[in-house]
Symmetry: C2
Subunit: 196 residues, 2 copies
DNA sequence: CGTCGAATTGATGTCATTCAACTACAGTGG
DNA sequence: CCACTGTAGTTGAATGACATCAATTCGACG
């Protein structure tokens, strides 16, 4: 049974029959490290559910610097919902940090699936979850120092702390790799132990 | 006709009959400048549609400093969607910048209204709009300088620039009032003219 | 082993903050 | 009508947090 099927049956009241019906044209895609799935300013025509591996979304500013928006490990959704829904230029890139297997969800899928109330309700829940994630991230960025954001990150995503290179964490936190290195050094000096 | 009714009839395919049915128990609320409508850590049990006036949402950090998240003038929605939907503690405060008149939307309203497909579809659109707003804000915060964020603000919300005190704009931009004052001075020196 | 990117460290620079003083102005009460 | 008060905004000087640049060191992998 696919990770996606297992996920849906567990999280929603969708039946096996309904699942078969809405997913009959669904495809999975294997992508390898470094592969780009969406480019800024292009239309996002697919939303991905990560079955295994790790993806990220990021913007590139006018100075050419990357700023990581989100990480998407197993059982996470990733895609530019804005671009997908409104057919507008994407606000960020999506690429692949580890070799991954994705469930590829396109408009025909959502059109069919949303006819099933239990899926439609679940999708609304996913959207609210997304709003929460963005809101929390926003709050952290405006109200917390770099050190606080780092501590929040390793608490909120302990598994990512191990899988993601430090310079990407720095990019996610909105600081340079050098600054993150110094913050970690300072935390070590203060006798801080992660995961204890 | 209320601003809300006008707005819905214009933006959706809801009929007059449907409108009457779903809004029969709906109330408007007049609130005055300074009134607090939602407190951080409380459950948000109402979403507001602003018929007239101006609201804001903001967090208070551990140092006691305010950080404005959003402004909501006429025909905008405001509320902690996360708290409302998941019954979780609110991530921010909401209060009143100008005397305002609000349409107060609670759970019974949404439960009834979402039975009408054209409303439910519209609500999904509103959620996507909210996601877009948050995403753009996030991108600006991580990828743009204070000056760029200010220029973006006055372009994106020209009417707010006039109605909102400067220290609130600074708070929205994530800087101090002093810094914004200096940025404006510098822009004036560079012969920058707003709204020209 | 040699190479290349990641991470650390040091020296220095920059942008925004902080704190404080001062101006401008609106609202209040004598 | 004028002092009194409080808030917004501006300006200056000192400070602080993080960035930048450059030089090593570390570690994975061919």
């Amino acid at each position: 049974m696919s990770v996606f099927k297992n996920y849906l049956l567990q999280k929603t009241s969708i039946t096996e029959d309904e699942y078969s019906k809405i997913t009959e044209n669904l495809i999975t895609r294997k992508v390898s490290k470094g592969e780009i799935l969406l480019r800024q300013d292009k239309i996002c025509s697919e939303v991905y559910f990560v079955q295994s591996g790790l993806l990220r979304s990021y913007t590139i500013d006018h100075a050419g610097k990357e700023h990581i928006i989100q990480f998407a490990p197993e059982e996470w959704w990733i895609g530019d919902r804005n671009s997908f829904y409104f057919n507008e230029p994407a606000l960020f890139f999506i690429d692949c940090i580890e070799d991954s297997e994705l469930m590829v969800l396109n408009h025909p899928f959502f059109d069919a699936a949303n006819l099933i109330p239990s899926f439609s309700d679940f999708n609304t829940k996913v959207l609210h979850n997304h709003i929460r994630t963005l809101q929390i991230r926003l709050n952290m960025l405006v109200a917390a120092t770099a050190e606080e954001r780092y501590l929040d990150f390793i608490e909120r995503y302990p598994n990512l702390t191990l899988r993601v290179p430090q310079w990407m964490i720095a990019s996610y936190l909105g600081i340079t790799p050098e600054s993150l290195s110094r913050i970690r050094k300072e935390l070590a000096r203060k006798n801080f132990k992660p995961h204890s």
